[in-house]
């Protein structure tokens, strides 16, 4: 499994309220949620994001509310992967559970710049910055999580 796209870069503590503001939580429609993704932190995100793009951020990405609407909005926007120094734990769980690959890599998170072209290999955890030519090693998923992702999310992994 791989991802390949251009970077949208953010800072520390990007919370779920800015990823998808609560005023849009009166719907569970993936397309509608995507149309407001990152609205309160980056008004142009929806306009600029392309299929396959990658979000990079610093520490504690996805902190705050448990709303699964946040990773859903990101995934439905076309984003193929999120890389951060650290993730808030509920966001991490939710992303895995819906099949949005996310990787923790402090060095990559700090060095990769907005607009860079990046390739990610989920099997090896290697993050390659095509723009700078630099590579980074993230932890690949543990087998338990790999199983959930391979089966297409938590519910498929428990389905009889």
């Amino acid at each position: 499994m791989n991802a390949h796209g251009f970077i949208h870069k953010y800072g520390d503590n990007v919370d779920t309220d800015v990823i998808i503001p609560a005023r849009y939580l009166n719907t569970a429609s993936h397309a509608e949620l995507a149309s407001h993704c990152m609205e309160d932190i980056d008004k142009d995100f929806v306009k600029n994001v392309k299929q396959g793009d990658i979000i990079v951020a610093n520490k504690n990405f996805g902190c705050g509310s448990s709303r699964e609407h946040a990773p859903i909005a990101i995934q439905a926007s076309g984003v193929s992967c999120v890389i951060a120094s650290t993730f808030a734990r509920i966001f991490y769980r939710n992303s895995i559970n819906i099949g949005l690959p996310i990787l923790e890599c402090d060095e990559a998170a700090k060095e990769i710049q907005n607009g860079d072209e990046v390739k990610v290999d989920f099997d090896t955890g290697v993050i390659q910055n095509m723009t700078s030519g630099k590579s980074y090693q993230a932890q690949p998923f543990p087998p338990f999580i790999q199983n959930i992702i391979e089966k297409g999310g938590l519910l498929n992994s428990i389905a009889k």
Partner: protein
């Protein structure tokens, strides 16, 4: 190797003699919770994977509390979807308008969660029940759906930070000030992936309301859970309330902690978190002159009867300042009724405040108190992120009910001790 209190509860629910930090386990659940925002996503997943039964009719709680009474047509449709699901699967603990309260005030009050439980909820503040000696944590909707089907959830066993509480808090210092102080000290990711375990002789100086408030905001330090030991105060609260037998777990004397912090409760001051993170704390003495447009008293953090009593003690014989809207929200119907019987509601209305039906509404900028561009609120809620309570250029300052009430009266963020 000794286990923390959290690890012992998880081991018991995983059917294992012991667990250690980092271990992946599957634990049996005593309660699976969802609300009107997270349940629709869970129900969609539940149906998409072809499930046709729930693991238990009485270990699932569905509470319509966020955008209720329905704020708009879409919110009404989401509530309808949850209502129909609850009826179809005969969910016993379904709480609709008229019975519902804010979920984390309601479940402890009804005795649905208690000592020794293992609980997940599709709401980040599910960590509240740690105050009662339960392992309790927030998850997303997919975990909720899986929990409703299997009665189980996977966890990575957390390591822990030990918080030793000493001495007694001064007047006007509450659980809210303790947790804001702690978040200010360790930061919004200071306890990321880990447990906060509160202990020490200061615990007995904290009421159940104080403890519920402290555990509630453990997530605001990134924690997986925030847990208190079970003592006489807990057991007295649970007597004739908790629907099961309390199971009391305690950390082993040789339990290993990543870090230990000591908080001398007697030295704490009323504390305020400035925009836009709960870690931006200042004591009331350092606040300066901050004019407010709105004061909100309520939420899963501070909507309990003790909170309303403290607010009423300040509003009695006083008025809300001319340019301030003050919105007071009891956590549950029972708290609402008690506030009426004790005369608190009358004090609020006479002061010029709004006394509302229970709802999460304004806390997350849903309804019942959304802020305009440039407006500023003092609020007893739990988050002050950008745009949390309304416009992206509005501001939220977090405080205790005492500070929020005093500020409503003066129009500026105010030390309750300095009221005339």
């Amino acid at each position: 190797m000794g286990m923390t209190m959290t690890q012992k509860i998880l081991a018991a629910h995983a059917g294992l003699p012991e667990v250690e930090a980092g271990q992946l386990i599957e634990a049996k659940l005593d309660m699976v919770l969802g609300n009107d925002i997270t349940s629709p996503v869970a129900i969609n997943e539940f149906e998409k994977c072809g499930a046709n039964s729930v693991f238990s009719k009485d270990k699932i709680a569905l509470v319509l509390d966020h955008f209720t009474p329905n704020k708009d047509i879409k919110a009404a449709e989401q509530c309808l979807q949850v209502r129909e699901f609850a009826n179809k699967y005969e969910i016993i603990n379904f709480f609709d308008v008229g019975q519902m309260g804010i979920e984390h005030a309601l479940l402890p009050e009804k005795g649905l969660v208690g000592p020794g439980d293992c609980v997940i909820g599709a709401d980040s503040h599910t960590c509240t029940y740690g105050a009662l000696g339960a392992f309790s944590t927030g998850v997303g909707s997919t975990d909720m759906a899986a929990g409703m089907i299997t009665g189980k959830a996977w966890f990575k066993v957390p390591s822990a930070i030990k918080i030793v509480l000493k001495n007694k808090p001064a007047k006007w210092v509450s659980g809210k000030d303790v947790i804001l102080h702690l978040i200010g000290m360790i930061g919004v990711d200071g306890a990321l992936y880990r447990s906060l375990e509160f202990t020490g002789e200061g615990v007995k100086e904290l009421s159940i309301e104080d403890r519920l408030c402290i555990s509630n905001m453990a997530i605001e330090a990134g924690a997986k859970n925030g847990i208190f030991p079970v003592d006489e105060i807990t057991l007295a609260y649970e007597k004739d309330r908790f629907q099961r037998e309390p199971v009391v777990f305690a950390a082993d004397s040789d339990a290993v902690y990543d870090e230990t912090y000591e908080i001398d409760l007697s030295t704490l001051r009323p504390t305020v978190a400035f925009p836009h993170l709960p870690e931006n704390t200042k004591t009331i003495d350092e606040v300066g002159t901050i004019k407010i447009d709105q004061s909100v008293i309520g939420s899963c953090t501070n909507g309990r009867i003790e909170d309303l009593r403290i607010a009423a003690s300040i509003f009695k014989g006083r008025k809300v300042a001319k340019d301030v809207r003050c919105i007071i929200l009891p956590g549950t119907q029972a708290i609402y009724l008690q506030a009426l019987r004790e005369g608190l509601a009358e004090i609020f209305v006479e002061a010029g405040a709004v006394f509302s039906t229970p709802t999460c509404g304004p806390c997350l900028g849903g309804h019942m108190g959304v802020l305009a561009k440039g407006e500023r609120a003092i609020s007893t809620t739990n988050r002050n992120f950008v745009g949390r309570m309304g416009h992206v250029e509005s501001e939220v300052y977090l405080s205790s009910p005492a500070v929020a009430a005093a500020s409503a009266v003066t129009g500026y963020i105010t030390d309750p001790d300095k009221m005339n």
